[in-house]
Amino acid sequence: MVKLTLRSAAIAVTVAAVSLSLAACGSSGPAGSAGNADSATMWGLTGGNQPVLQKSIDAWNKAHPDESVKLDFFANDAYKTKVRTAVGAGQGPTFIYGWGGGVLKSYVDASQVADLSQFIKDNPDVQSRYLPSVLKNGVIDGKTYALPNNNVQPVVLYFNKDVFDKIGAQAPKTWDELMALVPKFKAAGIAPFSLGGQSKWPDLMWLEYLVERIGGPDVFANIAANKPGAWSDPAVKEALTKIQELVDAGGFVNGFSSIAADSNADQALLYTGKAAMILQGGWIYQSMKKDAADFVKNGKLGYTAFPTVSGGKGDPANVVGNPSNFWSISSKATDSQKKAALDYVKSGMFTDADTQALIDSGAVPVTTGIESKLAASPDKDFLSYVYGMAKNAPNFTLSWDQALSPAQGDAMLANLDQIFLKKITPDQFVSTMNATIGK
C-alpha cells in the first residue's frame, strides 16, 4: 500500500505540476459578461488613455442605453496575450484594440475582423476626420480593417533641461554630438541615457531610428516584405555596431537591463535627474505630466528629434513609432453587436469632448482640424511639436515589433536584448534574423 500510494501520489503531483504550468497559459474568456448578453464588448488598455476612453463610453452608454458597450481594461502585455487567445477561441470582444501591422494581418488572414471598407464609403465623415497618413495603417490589401482610435505616438528623444544646463550642453543634433555628450555626463555623475531594457521594446526604438537614419525607410520596408536576406542590409549592421559602441561607452544607465518600462521606472530616472535623456514613445509625456507635474509644467522637459548620422540616407524628418492605436470589429460578433459598434464608431468616437479630453491628457488626437484646440492647451509646445512631426514626416514607420509577424517580432526583441548585453555580435544578429524571414 505504502509503495503504491507514494508512487501514485508522486505521479499525481508531477502531472498536476506539469498541467498547472500548462494551465497557466490557457486563459479564460471575457471576464464576466454581466448585463445584456448581446451588448457589444470592448477591451481597452490601462494607462494614459484609460480615463479618456472610459469617459467616451460612459457618455455613449448614457445617450444610447439600447446600444450600450461594455468596457473592460487590461494591462498592455497581458492584453496582447489574452485577446489573441480569446479571439482564437471565439470568445473575443466586439471591439479589438490593436496596433495595425503584422498582428492585424494575422487577424485578417484568419477572417476574425470585419472589412470596414463599405462602412467608410457610406460614411465619408468618418474617413475625413482622420489624418490620411494614420488611416492607411488600418488598410491591408486595399481594404480597411481597422480605424484609428486615439493619438499619434511618435518616438521622441526627451531630455532633462536642468542637467543639460548643469554641464552646459545642448541637445545632440548628430550621432557624433550624442557620443561626445556621454563622457561629459558620466563625469558629472549622471547617466547619459535611461532605458527600460527589461521590457525589451524600448531597446528596439534605438535600432529603428538608427536604421532609419542610416539606411532610410526602404531597409525596413524590405524586411517587412519578407525579402530573403533583408536583414543583411549594411545599415542594420552599422546600427547594431553603433548601439554596442554606445553600450561600451557607458551610454545607458547602470542596470538598464533590469529596468522595466511598464512600471515607468525609466521615465522616473529622467525627471529625477539621474539620467539626462531617454528615447521613448510620445505616450510617456502623458504619464510624466501626471507623475512629475512640476517638472513638466516648469518647462524642464525638453524634446527633440533623433539625431542624424553622418553619411546616412534617411530623411531627418522621418519618424518611427505608433501612428495610433486602432479599433477592429470582430467578424464573429452578432449583428446587433456589430451595429452598436459601428454606430459608436460613427457618432460616439472623437466627439468634441473626446478630442478635448485627449488633448487635456497631453496627447495629440489623430483627427484633422485640431490646430486651434492644440494651441489653446497648456501643453501646446509639446502637442504642436508632435502634431507637426507626425504631419510633416515624409515617412512614418510603424514600430517593428508590431509591423512584423509575432514570431519574427519575438525573435527580434530577444536577439536585440542580446546585442545590448553584448552576448552576440551584429553578424550573429543578422544571420539569426535572416532565418526568421517568412515565418
Binding site: M1, V2, K3, L6, R7, A10, I11, A12, V13, T14, V15, A16, A17, V18, S19, L20, S21, L22, A23, A24, C25, T81, R84, T85, V87, G88, S106, Y107, D109, A110, Q112, G197, Q198, S199, K200, V253, N254, G255, F256, S257, S258, I259, A260, A265, A268, L269, K274, P406, A407, G409, D410, A411, A414, D417, Q418, L421, K423
Partner: protein
C-alpha cells in the same frame, strides 16, 4: 482491526471501494490526461492560435530540437533545479527540525517563517523586483552601495537571485513538511539514545535523518519536479531575461506559444516538459530503495 463478520473483513482486505476515487479520476482525466493528448496532437501541427490547425508532421519537433534556445532553456532549468535543491533542502530540513520542538519561542518563530507561504508568487516577484532595483531599490534607499548591484540585469548574477527568491518563497512549505515528519518520530527513540549517551548531533544523524527518509523523498520530489514548473515567479521577476539567462523551459514554452504564437512548437516543448517531469519523479521514487515496505518504526 479484527471484526467478527466475514463480509466486512473481505472489504478491508480489498481496500475501500474503487468508486471513492471516481470523482478525482474524472477531474484528472478531464484536466490532465485529455489536455496531455491534446498537446501531443498539437505538437504535430502548425497553428498560430487564430486560424486553422494544420497537420504539419514533425516540423515543430525539428524546429524545437534544432533551436539553440531550447537547449539553453533546458540547461537553465537544470541549473535552477540543482541550485534550488542544494539551497532549499538543508535549510528546510534544519528549520523543520528546529520548529518541531515544543518550546513557545520556536512556535512563534515558526509562524514568522511561514509568512512567505501566504503570499502569491506574483506578489513576491513584484516586491523583489522593486527591492532589487539598482536605482530606486533597497540599496540606494538605505544608502548601501553593495546592495545596489544590478541584481536582475547582470547575466551572471540573475540566476542566483532567482534561486534565492524561489528559496525564500518555498522553504517555508518544505519546512512544514519536515516539521510534521519530525513530530512523528517516537520520543522513545531519543530517550533510548540519551540513555546510551548519544549527543544532540549524533541523535540527529542516527535517529532524525534515517527516520525522515520518506519525508526527504517526498520533499525532494516536490522540489525537483516543482522546479520544472517555476513560471509565474520568474516570468514576473525577470521575464526570462536578461537575454536568455533565466528563460526556463516552461517560460520558453509560454513565450513560444503566446508571444511568438507558434502553438505547434510550444506543444512540443510541453511534451518534453511532461516527459522530463515523469522521468524525474520515477527516478526519485526508485531512490527510496527496494524495501520501501519495511517499517520505519522497526525497533521502536
Amino acid at each position: 482491526m479484527s471484526t467478527s463478520t466475514g463480509s466486512s473483513r473481505r472489504v478491508l482486505e480489498k481496500g475501500p471501494s474503487g468508486w471513492l476515487a471516481a470523482p478525482a479520476l474524472v477531474f484528472f482525466l478531464l484536466f490532465a490526461i485529455i489536455p496531455l493528448f491534446g498537446v501531443l496532437f498539437l505538437s504535430f501541427t502548425r497553428w498560430d492560435g487564430l486560424g486553422e490547425i494544420k497537420l504539419d508532421g514533425l516540423s515543430s519537433w525539428t524546429t524545437v530540437l534544432t533551436d539553440p534556445v531550447t537547449g539553453n532553456a533546458l540547461w537553465v532549468t537544470a541549473k535552477i533545479m540543482f541550485f534550488s535543491f542544494i539551497v532549499q533542502a538543508p535549510i528546510s530540513l534544519l528549520l523543520g527540525v528546529f520548529t518541531s520542538a515544543s518550546q513557545k519561542y520556536r512556535a512563534a518563530l515558526a509562524v514568522l517563517y511561514f509568512v512567505p507561504l501566504l503570499l502569491s508568487s506574483a506578489a513576491v516577484a513584484i516586491a523583489y523586483k522593486a527591492l532589487l532595483d539598482p536605482n530606486f531599490g533597497l540599496g540606494p534607499g538605505l544608502g548601501m552601495p553593495f546592495l545596489a548591484q544590478d541584481w536582475l540585469g547582470n547575466s551572471d548574477l540573475v540566476l542566483f537571485v532567482v534561486v534565492f527568491v524561489i528559496a525564500w518563497q518555498f522553504v517555508p512549505f518544505h519546512t512544514l513538511i519536515y516539521q510534521g515528519g519530525v513530530r512523528q518520530i517516537p520520543a522513545s527513540l531519543y530517550e533510548a539514545a540519551q540513555i546510551d549517551g548519544a549527543g544532540r548531533v549524533q541523535q540527529f544523524f542516527s535517529i532524525t535523518l534515517p527516520q525522515l527518509k520518506y519525508t526527504i523523498i517526498t520533499s525532494s520530489t516536490l522540489m525537483v519536479v516543482g522546479s520544472l514548473a517555476y513560471f509565474d515567479l520568474v516570468f514576473v521577476l525577470t521575464g526570462g531575461g536578461p537575454g536568455y539567462s533565466t528563460r526556463l523551459l516552461p517560460l520558453q514554452m509560454y513565450l513560444t506559444g503566446f508571444k511568438a504564437n507558434d502553438m505547434g512548437a510550444a506543444s512540443a516543448l510541453g511534451v518534453i516538459l511532461v516527459v522530463i517531469g515523469l522521468a524525474l519523479a520515477l527516478i526519485l521514487q526508485r531512490l527510496g530503495g527496494k524495501n520501501r515496505n519495511a517499517s520505519q518504526l522497526e525497533g521502536a
